[in-house]
Structure formats: C-alpha cells, structure tokens
C-alpha cells in the first residue's frame, strides 16, 4: 500500500516537475513512431502495388492445335506439377483474333478479309504474384517449352526484368532510409535518455544514499517510460493517419490511385506498433537505470 502510494506519488511528481523534458521525450517518441510507420506504410503499399502490377504477369504458351477437354486437363496437371500457379486460361484461335482486333483499335480495318483463325490457340499461365516467382520465371518458361504440342512460350521478359529491378531498387531505397532512420531514432532516444538521466543523476544518487530500494527508484522510470511509449505511439500513428487521409483526398480520382491502391495499417498492426512502442520505452527507461542501482 505505502509502496504503491509512494511510487505513484513520485511518478506524478516527476511528471509535473520535469514536464518540459517530458514533453521533449514525448515529441521524440511521436516523431520516431511517425517516421517508422511512415516508411513501413510506404513499404507495405509498395508491395501491394507490386502485386497489383503483377496482374499483367502471364506466360503465353502457343500451341500448334486447339486442345480438347482431356488434353486441357493434361496440360493443367503438368503445369501444376511444376509450380503452384494462380490461374490457367485457355485461349482459342477465335478469342485471340478478337483480342488482337481490340488491341489494334482504330486501325482494326487492316484485319478485314483475314481468316478468323490465323492466330494460334494458346494457354495463358498466371504465376503466383510474388518476387520469388519472378526469379523463377525463366525456368518456368523453359519447362513449359518442353510440353508436347507447344510452339513457343512468350512472356513480357523486358517488362518483368524492369519491374523486378524496380522493386529491388525500391526495396534497397526503403531499407536504406529505414536503416538511416533507425540509426537516427535510436540516437535520438539514447540522447533523450541521457539528457533525462543527466538531469536526474544527482537525485538518483541521493535516493541511493538514502537507502531507497531498487523498486522505489526504478518503478517510476518504468511507469514513465510505458506512459510515454503509449501516448507517443498513439500520437505518432494519429499524425500518420491524418497525413494519410489528406494524401488520399489529394489524389482521389487520379490515375495513381488505380495504380497504387493505398491502404492504412489494419487494426492488428496498429495495436502491435503501440504495444511494441510501449514495451520498448518502458524497457528502455527501465534498463537505462541499471547503472544507477549498482551504486
């Protein structure tokens, strides 16, 4: 009882006495969470966009003749044997012709008088959209080539290469920025803790000399840290959400939003970030007092 009262009393008194430095720490944590989650959000949406763009990803297997139902099943089985794919579609000569006509657009009159089946039938294979698949696409293509009755396998090699390198590039950029910011954040937090400890060193040393127990000294730091982590991360995420909302409004209706379907973190991720920040701050300020309890 007396212990709890003393601890909570001391925490409240500390918060009141050192509110300016507390505000500084809070700002630091808010900024750190904001920065971290900002880049995390960009990364997540980039991955999403990658998926989205990957919709265009397919291998076209040209066949020498229209396959019947049993042959189709045979092909399907063989393809699935090599790798899991998302979708397999059979395109007849007729369907191919229609598509080509549409692609030509206002030039479609050039096709007049051509036989409707001058294009070969094909199988369109949509691999699972992941970076791992992209790296294996060459092998996949080689495998498909070996299937019986296959004339030629085509895929947007150049486009895939480009997309793949672009994603790699973005990954490096995001990871580099992330590292840089992690460095900065760690540095800032360490700085802040140092500042706090410096300004309270005399007080803590005195408490030691007066015979304060370890819990009496450290519990307020733990509470303070937890409180700051909680409030700071909530503020940071709220700020990010405001940004995000403004951002979405700003680009509402433009082509970009079709390209990148922006989404905010789902609730579990939000909760995880808040919990992690709270535990980190509480733990951090708890452990930073370890040196002192050894006096």
């Amino acid at each position: 009882m007396n212990f709890l009262r003393a601890i909570i009393g001391q925490t409240l008194r500390n918060l009141r006495r050192t509110w300016s430095s507390q505000a500084l720490t809070l700002l630091t944590i808010t900024l750190s969470v904001l920065i971290f989650s900002f880049f995390f959000l960009i990364y997540i949406n980039m991955i999403n966009a990658g998926r989205h763009m990957g919709d265009n990803l397919r291998l076209i297997v040209y066949l020498d003749e229209e396959p019947g139902k049993p042959l189709q099943d045979e092909y399907r089985r063989k393809i699935l044997k090599f790798d899991r794919v998302e979708r397999i579609e059979f395109v007849s000569s007729r369907q191919a012709y229609e598509r080509f006509r549409k692609q030509l657009g206002h030039d479609q009159d050039v096709l007049e008088g051509m036989p409707r089946n001058f294009l070969p039938p094909s199988i369109e294979v949509y691999p699972i959209r992941s970076l791992a698949t992209l790296t294996r696409i060459k092998r996949f293509s080689d495998y498909l080539q070996t299937l019986p009755g296959v004339l030629k396998v085509q895929y947007g090699r150049e486009w895939i290469d480009r997309f793949y390198s672009f994603v790699k590039l973005m990954r490096v950029v995001v990871i580099l920025s992330g590292l840089l910011l992690l460095l900065t954040t760690t540095f800032m937090v360490a700085h802040t803790i140092r500042l706090t400890l410096c300004s309270r060193e005399r007080e803590l040393e005195l408490l030691r000399l007066l015979g304060a127990s370890n819990q009496y000294i450290r519990a307020p730091f733990f509470l303070e840290g937890a409180l700051q982590g909680l409030v700071g991360s909530i503020c940071g995420l709220a700020a990010l959400y405001v940004f995000f909302d403004w951002f979405r409004l700003r680009f509402a209706g433009t082509a970009v939003l079709n390209l990148f379907p922006f989404t905010f973190f789902p609730i579990p991720v939000v909760l995880t970030i808040i919990t992690a920040a709270t535990l980190l701050c509480a733990g951090g300020s708890f452990f930073s007092t370890r040196r002192i309890t050894r006096l």
């Binding site: 007396n2 212990f3 009262r5 003393a6 009393g9 001391q10 008194r13 006495r17 005399r202 007080e203 005195l206 408490l207 000399l209 007066l210 015979g211 304060a212 127990s213 370890n214 009496y216």
Partner: protein, 246 residues
C-alpha cells in the same frame, strides 16, 4: 574497549583509503563507537574526516581493513541489506546534496519516503523539524533559493528526519552563526538522549569544548593519540603528519 561496551555501533579496524593516484586519505584507522555515543571528529582541512564518514555509509569502499556498522561488515553486505542499513543512517553532507528544484518539504520528506513512511507521519515530522530549525516559513520554497546556512539546516533536518540509529554530520555548522549552531546542537543532543549514535565531523572547537563527549582527531589520514584514553590511533601519527606537511 570494544569488548567492554554494551553494544558497538561503528567499528573500524585498520582501515586505509587511497584515492588514485596516491592521495592517502586514511591510513590504518581503528576506531569503535558505542551505541548511543556522541563522538566528535576533528582535524585540519584535508585530514580525511569526510572520507571516514563516507566509508561508514559505503559511498566509498576502503582499500584495506574492516568497516562494521550495526554489527554488519560493509564489505559483505547484500544489496537490499545495504539499503535497509542506509535507512537507519542519517548523513548530513558537507556539500548538502539537496535537490535545488524540490521544495524544502520535499527534500526532507525524501528520506522518509524511501522508508515507505505514512504521508501523515512525513508531514508531521517535516513540520516539527522545520519548526525546530526556525525555517517554518520556507516550507514551500525550492531548496535552491535558500541561503547557504538555511540549506545546511535542511540537510541536517533530512539526516534526522527518519530518526536514524546512526547520525553522521559533516561540518554541520560551517555556514551557521553561533545562535543557529546552538539550535542544531540541541537537536543532536535530543537524538543522543533518544539513543541515537552520532558522529560529528567539525573544526569548530566551540561545539565540543563544553561537554564531556569523546573527541578524536585525524591528522593526515591517521587517528591521533586519543584525548580520553582511547586505544585507537598509532603512536607515530604526529611524526608522520609533520613529514607530510613539508
């Protein structure tokens, strides 16, 4: 001597302390203080008075020798044992060690809070001490805004707040006038009567010239031949110190 006394509060046996690189602050000091005794420790500036007191609350550890307080060897004491012991010791530091931003009341309360005393007890005791030291009107003043003499009294009040068994006072009247010193000494005597052991380091002869209290003198880290038949100190202490003075 040690064997005769009813209970020994402080026991130092052949204690030496050297600060790097080679400041011999204490050399072969042996001293025992009975429970309930008031002892004065004198000596020139730099003789080692503060160092001796710091050994007793283990803010400093000796290089050699045994330090026992309340029957506990300070070298072997555990973490929580030390914390409990420290709550039974009240030290008024020579440099006060007040928290300048905290109010006078908070500074004094600190010593009682770490022992988990009840708020009502803390308030009562704080008021009583401030009353006794004529500082009632400074209750809510930040300690940093006091005059040095006022700060000194707060440091003394904090040392006494918890009614400790052992009071260590380091130059408690250095910034006080005669009249205020008397107030402080009265407080000390009262605690002595209530059974506390007091060790007071001072250079102010007026504090101990009147009474029948034991006085020991440090000279250049050695205890001098005692004035009232103590068996502590080494015979050649004065000779050594004269050499060191050169």
């Amino acid at each position: 001597m040690t064997a005769n006394s009813p209970r020994v509060m402080v026991e130092l046996i052949k204690v030496s302390k050297t600060y790097p690189p080679s400041v011999h602050a204490l050399q072969d000091v042996s001293l025992s203080v009975r429970s309930g005794e008031m002892l004065f420790l004198t000596g020139k500036s730099g003789a080692g008075k503060t160092t001796l007191l710091r050994l007793l609350c283990r803010s400093e550890v000796p290089d050699k020798g045994l330090v026992e307080v309340a029957g506990q060897d300070l070298e072997r004491i555990s973490g929580s044992g030390l914390q409990q012991l420290r709550r039974r010791i009240g030290m008024a530091y020579q440099d006060f060690r007040l928290l300048p931003r905290h109010t006078v009341a908070q500074n004094i309360a600190l010593a009682m809070e770490v022992a988990y005393r009840k708020p009502s007890f803390i308030r009562k005791r704080t008021r009583e001490l401030l009353e006794r030291l004529r500082l009632s009107d400074k209750y809510h003043t930040p300690a940093g805004e006091l005059s040095r003499g006022e700060q000194q009294r707060i440091a003394i009040a904090r040392a006494l707040a918890n009614r400790p068994d052992l009071v260590l006072a380091d130059e408690p009247t250095g910034n006080l006038d005669r009249e205020t010193s008397t107030l402080v000494m009265e407080l000390f005597r009262e605690h002595e009567e209530q059974g506390a052991t007091l060790i007071i380091a001072t250079h102010d002869r007026e504090l101990f010239d009147d009474g029948g209290h034991r006085v020991v003198e440090l000279r250049d880290g050695r205890l001098l031949a005692p004035e009232d038949g103590e068996d502590t100190g080494s015979g050649d202490a004065s000779l050594q110190s004269e050499e060191a003075d050169q």
